[in-house]
Symmetry: C2
Subunit: 378 residues, 2 copies
């Protein structure tokens, strides 16, 4: 395989696990339109998904290898994966953007699973989806997002190694904070310096870098950087999802400039302790809601349910499961998750803290280098 | 507005144009789930879309300003845009991820337009979309992708300025090719050096960088970089979509190493001449299919229809229209498009060439610095 982030056995294992579940659930085929699922089962990786012009399809039959039904422009790249059956058309097409090929491939499949549930999208035009359903009127379509979630949550050793490596890379860049960030620098400049360092350290891409800075805390954790300069007393937070071979890290770090106020120190300490509690608790058999609760109890911020304190990580920046009050997913060995407690530290001010771990038989193993126990002051 | 890539008048104009079209088409509301449309009408820009966990919604009523229905985690960022009516919920939610809020906001709207056509996706779970349709059973949903395409294709002066600036930045980096690329360097290293230079020149992000290298041409134009070293006689092509304030450039450059064979020189010259012909032809009133044809005639590669030779550009790497045989969109002033002819130069070898232009009353104005007339040799 020319274009392989993994040896064939990785994909054979994924397929075997999927097909075993398909037999149990009596599904004749799985039908995918989305980047993560198509990459998971085929190994097809390209930034060309940035273009919304063309739809891409993958079918996983109950037996046999996946079938790719894709625009001709992707044929050479798909031919380099482990997929043998690659059917193409010239896309964009005036009247038939792959729909006839899809109908032909799925004809006679009575029960077809597709991603319809939590965290999923339909990456094809709704009008074409409706044509597909009309063309396959004898087939039943059902939601298979639970099945796929179950497969994808547990990572292979090779996947864990990729996530570990990109965590190391991001850890190295965070370790360079004193060289990269300084008072007077705008947030835009700080983000740029950090991205350049991530690439220089070996990251392939930095699809996600958000953060904030403000006196004693920050008000927002999903914003692009402003042109405001970093000032004495600011807390700077950067949260990065950098990638290696298409696998993400996702963790953040906080830095104070000049000095740190008591509230910021208290916030940092509380979140650090919440994360420590989660690190001690996380192991196979623990439900995600309990791991969430362990962190929420440390924060004990008016005792209320304050959000999501972590999530799965891998092919996507965020994946199932969620560390949240209602997620009853039970942790298993080789799940990779983030621990991401957050709390208010003043009016309109919050702080966040995040680490990446893999669940092992005997507990949590850190993939990100553990943050400093005290808020670092630059 | 704290978080503004544009002054309010930009969004007022977009809204006024949309609402005028909605009156004509008798639409009571537009309903959006996708990043590009939500950003177009609200100014809400974040890399947080990388996380598939939460859905985001925007409603454009026939009169009055847009209504954002979004997860609480985005409230602070959305409050910094020109949108006043921001309705939030704690997402992810166990049972109701914004659907009740959506139904409440759309209740009584009889005709609702949403993106269902070419190049669109449904960025919310299908099961939730079905719940929404059941909850609004008295409403008619129709495809409004044509209306939105018509609006978005014509750029404002402020949008054109952002695209021009990011084209200049990428042009500067391509101008550094002799310093950035060398024989013996792996493609992965070459891509990394180029990305770092783009960021150093002022790009915010490089969401798209693909390309290839090979003796006398390349076999694939959407691949991530390999670990193969660049060799004497290779043609290297990099195609980049870098961004500034969320606006893309999208053009490529070719470089030969050591020497260039006759076929590569002929391919380069042919594509250069095809682009020249398109630059002379492009002006208001010309249908996209005719601009496609002008390039296809120069290439005259067995006279057949060989694909898409360009596309719109702006908020997304590729947008409508398409320079393709069946796109009858008529060019208008202030459309920003790419000219992107491609051709075979040998068995399994192709070459591509791309420029970015804005259509002016008197013809094409280049936004990318024009490629060299002869294949550059490094």
């Amino acid at each position: 395989m020319r274009n392989a982030d993994f040896p064939s056995v990785e994909f054979e294992t994924r397929l075997a696990r999927a097909q075993a579940a398909m037999v149990t659930e009596n599904l004749d085929a799985l039908f995918f339109t989305s980047e993560a699922e198509i990459r998971y089962f085929s190994g097809f990786r390209t930034l060309f998904w940035q273009s919304p012009t063309r739809p891409w399809f993958l079918i996983v039959p109950q037996s046999g290898k996946p079938i790719a039904i894709i625009p001709e422009i992707g044929a050479a790249l798909m031919a380099g994966t482990w997929v043998d059956d690659v059917r193409t058309w010239r896309s964009p097409h005036a009247t038939d953007d792959g729909i006839s090929l899809l109908i032909q491939a799925l004809q006679g499949k009575h029960k077809i699973g597709m991603m319809m549930g939590r965290e999923s999208s339909l990456r094809m035009p709704l009008t074409d989806y409706q044509r597909l359903r009309v063309g396959l009127e004898d087939s039943q379509f059902s939601d298979t997002s639970g099945l796929v979630r179950t497969l994808r949550m547990v990572k292979s050793p090779a996947e864990i190694q990729k996530i570990r490596t990109i965590c190391d890379i991001a850890g190295n860049s965070f370790g360079n904070a004193a060289q990269l960030f300084h008072q007077g620098q705008t947030l835009r400049e700080a983000f740029r310096a950090f991205k350049i360092d991530l690439l220089a350290q070996g990251a392939d891409d930095v699809p996600y870098l958000v953060g904030g800075a403000g006196q004693g805390g920050y008000g927002d954790i999903i914003s692009p950087p402003s042109d405001e300069p970093i000032r004495d007393g600011d807390i700077l937070m950067l949260d990065t999802g950098a990638t290696l071979d298409g696998y993400f890290c996702d963790f953040d770090r906080n830095f104070a400039f000049g000095h740190a106020g008591d509230e910021a120190k208290y916030g940092y300490d509380t979140l650090y302790r919440a994360t420590e509690a989660a690190l001690r608790t996380a192991r196979p058999g623990i439900p995600c809601r309990d791991l969430y609760r362990v962190m929420a109890d440390v924060i004990a911020q008016d005792g209320s349910d304050v959000g999501r304190f972590g999530h799965g990580l891998g092919l996507q920046l965020t994946e199932a499961p969620s560390l949240i009050s209602f997620d009853e997913t039970v942790l298993q060995a080789d799940m990779v998750i983030t621990l991401e407690p957050s709390m208010a530290v003043g009016p309109g001010k919050i702080m966040v803290h995040e680490e990446n771990i893999v669940i092992r038989e005997d507990g949590a193993e850190l993939l990100s280098p553990r943050a400093a126990p005290q808020l670092p002051i630059l």
